[in-house]
Amino acid sequence: MGMSLGGVLNFLVSFAIMASIYAILAIGLNVHWGYTGLLNFGIAGFFALGAYTSALITSPKPVGIMANYVRQAIGLNLPFLLGIAGAAIVSGVIAGVIGILTLRLSEGYLAIATIGIAESIRIFINNESWLANGPQGLIGLPRPLHNIVPRCYYNYLYLVIVSIFLTVIYFAVERGIRSPWGRVLRAIREDEIMVSADGKNVFFFKLQSLIFGAMIMGIGGALYAHFSAAIQPGVFEPLFGTFIIWAMLTLGGTGNNKGAIIGSFIVWALWSWSTFLIFKVVPRGFETRAPYIRYVLIGLLLIFIIIKRPKGMLGEEAHVSEF
């Protein structure tokens, strides 16, 4: 399989974009699980909400003959940044509602309840075709600043955009977690009863953490929508929407935002590169089954890390408060 230098670069750039989007989702999960101890197994729900909200805000409502094929309840044709803002707000509001209903559950039950909610969101989008075209999904979503660079170089620009979002989110979370507010979250993770004995409203802090993390996940979803320019409910199934992100954070180091980023890059590299390597070694006639070796590889890596290095590659950083 000969590949030109340009081809390799293009592959690396789209790899880096996807890994960075996953890193944003993993940082969102780190706010929930790493810092507050909330077992959110419904990442896919916020991922989908963010992607669909931004898509409906930024794309125009289909007209003419297209309206026969693409059904879309809303199409505001607004700029990209408003799409991102909308994604964060909608994810945050829905997270608030979910939190009020479920945050009083003990941790294991919260995990299962959130899986259920995320699946219900996906099934709803899939079935209610009037909302966002059902299973076919939305295509041709606007790509920000697409007219300032030639089409073939667009991904380089988008990588810059995604990197800016990743950096801002990284520093915002780092700052938040070192503040008195972040100290309360980590204290809740360690010993909820102690914190409530201290007169803090544990439920309210958990709710804030859930909303904050969900807003980050919503932004990740929006960035995904404008990168792939096409979204369908199938993308937000539990495997790629939730479980792979748990693997990324666990691998990199729970409670460590750098770990979240490193874990995302490693898992996504394993997932997207192993196909190429595998195709070189498998016998003929076996090509269609070869990609599934990835499931085995990532599964084994996850089990190995959990047993041998339960704190992940980096482990939690010692936090020294700035205040």
Partner: protein
Amino acid sequence: MAELIVYGIILGSIIALGSIGLTLIWGITDLFNCAHGDQITVGAYTAFVFTSLFSNMGILQGKVGPFSFCWGVLLAFIPAVIISVVLALIIDRWVYKPLRHSGAHFITSFIASIGVAWVLRGFIYIIWGADFHFYSSGLRTVAFLPLGIKLRIDEIFIVVIAWMAVALVYLFLAKTKKGKALRALADNPGLARISGIDTEYMIKWAWGIAGTLIAIAGILYGIETQLRPEMGWIFLLPLFAAIILGGKGSITGALIGGLLLGIAQQVSTAWLLPTYKPAIAFIIMIAVLIFRPKGIFGRRHI
């Protein structure tokens, strides 16, 4: 409506059968096993291998009575159960036991079980590919019951086998010494240990029961629909809902939870799109959790 309820009982029986092993392991080892679904898939495919083997050898090809499958499928229950139990014991020995002994948080073993699920599913895809498989290509005869209920004859077999397996497990847990030890362990692990119950030995028994039920559920599910690599994974979420409804470690709870979910899902199709079925399971589960956080039959711990 009567028809939908009957379909619900069929679906509910398979869910109930699949969820007993899951809730037993949850109660005894604190493991919420994400690989349970993929173990079900392995059970179904193992039986498929033996069925094909028998048919290649030219034996056991006669159809069983009025059912669509041949004698080979019935005989394949035995090796499928054995392999499923051995697999469960191997996984426990190499993955969950080290975690138990390091006193890991229950979420650690939950994430490890996600890894196990991926490894199993990867192997299923690699060995059998993504295509659908069937135990038999035979015609599926339909029975006409009173009240205008149409039923595939195979489904009667599924319900009978499922409830026979459930009854046997129930008798085992209620009447035998080992069964009582298992229930004691699920009820209060600390007290059970002090009373001289060998925890690790009993955990092996729990996996034995779970492995057996997993294989049976896989084959019955395969007869009801078809074999595909994602079958168990997709089936897992209703199982989770059933055992949450039933409460941690409660066998009766899982049975009733499973039946309830099966019936609710099928009856909902009278008003909603069938694609909403899984969402119905979750909405019921979440509603129950909000009002009864320990499930319908859960123990109220302090």
